[in-house]
């Protein structure tokens, strides 16, 4: 479990360190202060072997179509769009620190890559006339760190093939040293459900004997749910269906936004087993009256799946509900951080559950 996360030169953060992260950590603060960006940074630092690590943040924010250029893909990750200053991310956890640096490749020893017709990635030194046309010209190095020591480097960038297809690549230099991190799952504000994927994830929960936790979560919103089943049909493939006492089972996706929101969170919890679940606007689509129960469920689920939850909110009711819903014996495993802007710097204020309770009991603003 992470207790500290440090960011340098990532998006709107020139430098930020959140120390004192807990098993359940809630982030608040005004708009455009970096709450979602913090989650994206944490996710990026976990999703390190995925070439899409550079583009996931766009999907998290609901951006599905954009002009594919090196500028649109990579520069937004860097503070002030300045690709000349390396991104540093580091998580300090009980089992040690892991982090990465993303920097523009230097002139000397600059490397990039090309994709063969079979889709394999191959390192290629830049400058070769033959490859120049097919390469974007912008390349990055991703350095992987363990406990402060560099353990591997990958070359990353974008290629555009002659037919116009753009490909993002991430090419480890030492393939024998594939960096490993705990798992991470991200639920964005606009995350929609993918029926087949949901069915697979529910299947995983069933296999592990943990599907009851999923049902418990759904019943907070929809107490009438008797059971959930994966049903595969020729026409629509595998989907989750709910038995709500009607003559026939109905697709889970038809049960309303709140039910589907909590379904996404509960399924992602299974994916984050042993790692971290990141939830943007955790109360999105959820009525305030169910929020204390949601927090209570989250507390038990983080134990069941041995994972950490870092979530954001704008809602005072959600923050109050966290204090109300979390069992007192878990208060020391909860922290609330508010991000603020002082001049041009993003700062943080950490509230323990007690600090937060005192402020809320007095009706004081904490967001």
């Amino acid at each position: 479990m992470m207790h500290t996360f440090t960011i340098k030169n990532f998006k709107l953060f020139e430098e930020l360190e959140l120390s004192g992260l807990e098993r359940i950590t809630l982030l608040g603060g005004p708009n455009n202060i970096g709450k979602s960006t913090f989650l994206e940074a944490v996710y990026l630092n976990h999703d390190i072997n995925n070439p899409l690590m550079f583009t996931q943040h766009l999907g998290f924010r609901g951006i599905v179509a954009f002009k594919v250029t090196a500028e649109s893909l990579f520069a937004p990750l860097f503070h002030d769009f300045d690709t000349g200053r390396a991104i540093h991310l580091e998580a300090e956890a009980a089992k040690g620190a892991f982090g990465l640096q993303i920097r523009e490749s230097g002139a000397s020893g600059r490397r990039t890559a090309e994709i063969t017709s079979s889709g394999e990635l191959h390192n290629t030194a830049i400058g070769g006339a033959a490859s120049q046309e097919s390469l974007s010209g912008t390349a990055f190095e991703v350095e992987y760190y363990r406990n402060g020591k560099k353990v591997n480097t990958a070359d990353a960038g974008m290629t555009r093939e002659k037919d116009g297809t753009a490909r993002v690549f991430l090419n480890l230099r030492e393939t024998s040293e594939v960096p490993r991190t705990p798992t991470a799952a991200y639920i964005g504000t606009r995350s929609g459900s993918e029926p087949a994927t949901d069915a697979e994830r529910f299947g995983d929960l069933e296999l592990e004997g943990k599907s009851e936790s999923f049902l418990e979560a759904l019943r907070i919103i929809y107490p009438g749910i008797r059971s959930i089943a994966t049903i595969a049909t020729v026409k629509v493939g595998a989907m989750l269906y709910a038995d709500v006492g009607l003559d026939r089972k109905i697709p889970l996706s038809l049960l309303g936004d709140g039910t589907n929101r909590i379904a996404q969170i509960a399924l992602a919890m299974g994916r984050a087993h042993g790692g971290v679940l990141l939830v943007d606007d955790i109360d999105s689509g959820l009525h305030h009256s169910v929020l204390p129960k949601i927090w209570e469920w989250l507390a038990s689920a983080t134990k069941l799946f041995d994972c950490q939850v870092i979530a954001t909110t704008h809602s005072y009711e959600c923050i109050r509900a966290a204090k109300e819903g979390l069992p007192p014996q878990l208060w020391n495993e909860f922290a609330y951080f508010r991000l603020d802007r002082e001049n041009d710097t993003i700062t943080s204020t950490r509230y323990s559950a007690d600090n937060l309770g005192d402020a809320i009991d007095r009706d004081w603003e904490v967001r």
Binding site: R320, R338, D358, A359, R362, D363, W364
Partner: protein
């Protein structure tokens, strides 16, 4: 859900309770100084807790330039000051060397005033009553208090302990204040609201030190 309290002014004033809030807001209006955000602590033992909430609140660092802390001396002025000093220091705030003074240096500049002032024992009601020492009904108030004492001693010495209506007022000053207010045209005003109604004389010289403190608090 009630509306949340947020820091809105560069000048903050912490006071014990609702009466203090209304009284001081009336005095601040009388002085025509810059706006002050008055924050109730709800009890003399809660200063440290509310200071922590304040210091952590959004905009505290960026907004608050001066912070005043007011509480009653009660019967131990030294203990009252030590208690406030401890609460301030526990929350990383400076404390002036003595009551009715302000710290120097970087914001937030902090001042402490202990009512009734000048190291005297007492509470807000002492200060209020002092503004109306010469009021004609004050003699009636004194007679009333004597009468209550005499009656309780002579006619109810064996009153049942569980009957709360039998028992001399624990705080004579508060009893006097209420007795005085009972003689006003609108008899149902609290000590704090009475200040807003003009039942306490808000330009009385006895409020000079407190007024000076509030003027300093609102210095830009």
């Amino acid at each position: 859900m009630s509306e949340t309290i947020r820091i809105e002014e560069p000048h903050l004033l912490l006071v014990e309770g609702t009466n203090d809030q209304h009284f001081l807001e009336a005095l601040i209006r009388k002085l025509s100084v810059d706006p002050v955000q008055v924050v109730r602590v709800f009890g003399k033992n809660n200063y440290s807790g509310i200071l922590q909430t304040l210091v952590m609140a959004p905009n505290f660092k960026s907004t608050v330039r001066r912070l005043g802390v007011i509480r009653d001396n009660d019967n131990d002025p030294d203990a009252a000051f030590k208690s406030i000093k401890s609460a301030l220091e526990k929350n990383g705030l400076p404390c002036p060397k003595h009551p009715e003074a302000f710290t120097a240096g970087k914001p937030p500049i902090v001042g402490v005033f202990l009512i009734p002032g000048r190291g005297k024992e007492g509470c807000l009601e002492d200060l209020c009553l002092s503004t109306r020492r010469d009021h004609p009904t004050m003699a009636c108030v004194e007679k009333f208090m004597v009468c209550v004492g005499d009656r309780m001693n002579t006619e109810a010495p064996d009153a049942p302990a569980d009957d709360k209506a039998y028992g001399y007022p624990k705080n004579e000053t508060k009893a006097r204040a209420h007795a005085f207010l009972a003689s006003m045209p609108e008899s149902d005003k609290t000590v704090g609201i009475a200040a807003e109604e003009g039942y306490w004389k808000m330009d009385h010289p006895v409020l000079k030190d407190l007024s000076k403190f509030l003027r300093t608090l609102t210095t830009r």
